[in-house]
Amino acid sequence: MKTIKRYLRLYRVLIVQFFKVIMQSKVDFLMGLFGFFFTQVTGILFLYLVFEQIPFLQGWSLEQLIFIYGFAQIPRGIDHLFTDNIWLVAWRLVINGDFDRYMLRPMNVFFQVIAEKLQPDALGELLVGTILVIHSCRKGIVVTDALHIGLFFVSILAGALIYTSIKLFFASFAFWIKKSGPFLQVAYEMADFAKYPTEMYAKGIRFLITWVIPFAFVAYLPASYFLGRGGFFGAGSSNVGVIGIECLIAGLFWCIAYSVFQKGISIYESAGN
């Protein structure tokens, strides 16, 4: 308990520092925010243009697709906001030896890595996601009973954890191959597949993004549950189980990713040789 308190206290100190730095460069912050925001907006515009031509896409309406799209942004944004520094492990910190400093301090290494940076650009994603989800709720296409609302928050947290686990897993390769950025990038970009109903993909791709790099459980599958559709246990069945599986997967992937990371630390070879 004392340890947890100490970690929380330190996290607060680090985050406060971080905000001070952001406040010193407000313009940069706003531009990054706008960049991410704008990127998401073009995705929505694309859907609008497509639905000028067709009324439904495989049984999904424009409004429903927009909800899926927006919902997908929230777990992604949360993970992006809090654990962005994992990217640096994959690209830079291990290969140039800056990872040394985490090894020299008497604290958990993973904690140090993520505590070092908040990524304000992520607010762009969170903003778009929240706007779209609220918009969908007002349109009345989302199920909004207590159970669904409760599970909504469970789901976005589990989803963020899945994101973090996938990032950590691939970033940890850096301990073996020095620079794992490209691998991480491949895995991360696969998330784009899950912004749309996964039924439209070929079987192999669907399997991959459902069970191997399970982004479908971050976005499309839970989103269709909140839309009152059963995307997973057969058409027409709206099943709570999908959120349960999401949580299970989040837990499992986290354990795998964290042990690979720990193993990686134990074989870390600092640079400069």
């Binding site: 460069s25 313009v27 960049g35 907006v41 073009t42 031509q53 896409l57 495989q58």
Partner: protein
């Protein structure tokens, strides 16, 4: 001319070499780069599957397949983001080093972009292109694209390449005025994906918006060569779109020179 080549060719070769030396990354970035095309492909197939219409935005389902993958090929040889390099040079402060050397900074960037373009054409665009033609003939039952269209496509693509890098050079100049160009470059990326027709054929936009696009250089970057490849233009239109590309090359070249002049005077005054 020979001397010029000796100065600028190493930029192109060096870029090729750097790209090749990233072993693992090499294969993986190819893989990543195809993701959005495959997402597009499945999405469009689902879209055509959801309607009885034969044509959407003036393209049949089969033409859309060609469009998606030719966008990939075209983008990989045309869209070389030199503004990233400019901002890198500015941030690292190496741009001053480039100024004191007896060479043209823009030309060295374009040479480097040419190297990247050649590399991206070889791996993997040329294979995707061949694969697409085989798929077209064997699966979709379409004709092989005629040699005339291919030739015109390459002429148009070369101009597209010039339009893109000349335009992007101007964008890169912003790096001299702000410290944080990352956000801007992201906006540029998203905007271009939309305006060049990469995300969705420009024919899907409402009429009035399309009229506006006619007066912007973006449609000349990707959309024009791909539509040429698809054989969507008649002779008169062909002449027009190619001429329009040529005009943009000249205009952007002049604009870039002008901005560069302003920037370098400023650099000299402020001491970089």
């Amino acid at each position: 001319m020979r001397r010029k080549l000796r100065i600028y060719v190493p930029f192109a070769l060096n870029e090729l070499k750097t790209q090749l030396s990233y072993r693992g990354a090499f294969y993986l970035f190819i893989l990543i780069s195809t993701f959005s095309s495959f997402i597009s492909y499945f999405l469009w197939m689902a879209i055509y599957g959801s309607t009885d219409k034969v044509m959407l935005g003036g393209l049949t389902r089969n033409e859309m397949v060609v469009y998606i993958f030719m966008v990939y090929v075209t983008r990989s040889i045309v869209c070389i983001s030199i503004s990233d390099w400019v901002s890198e040079d500015v941030v690292k402060g190496t741009v001053a080093m480039n100024l004191i050397k007896p060479m043209d900074y823009r030309l060295s960037l374009i040479s480097r972009a040419l190297g990247r373009s050649g590399y991206q054409f070889l791996v993997p665009s040329v294979f995707i292109w061949i694969g697409l033609e085989l798929y077209k003939v064997n699966v979709l039952g379409m004709q092989v694209t005629g040699i005339w269209n291919i030739l015109l496509y390459f002429i148009s693509s070369i101009m597209s390449f010039l339009i893109f890098v000349l335009f992007d050079f101007c964008v890169g100049m912003i790096a001299f005025f702000t410290n944080y160009i990352f956000g801007l470059l992201m906006v540029k990326e998203a905007l271009l994906r939309f305006l060049t027709g990469e995300l969705i054929p420009l024919s899907f936009f409402p009429e009035c918006v399309q009229r506006i696009f006619d007066f912007l250089p973006f449609s000349s970057m990707v959309y024009t060569p791909v539509m040429i490849y698809l054989g969507k233009y008649n002779t008169a239109e062909l002449g027009f779109v190619l001429a329009r590309q040529a005009v943009w090359v000249v205009l952007l070249y002049l604009l870039g020179s002008l901005i560069w002049k302003k920037v370098t005077t400023r650099l000299v005054v402020l001491g970089g």
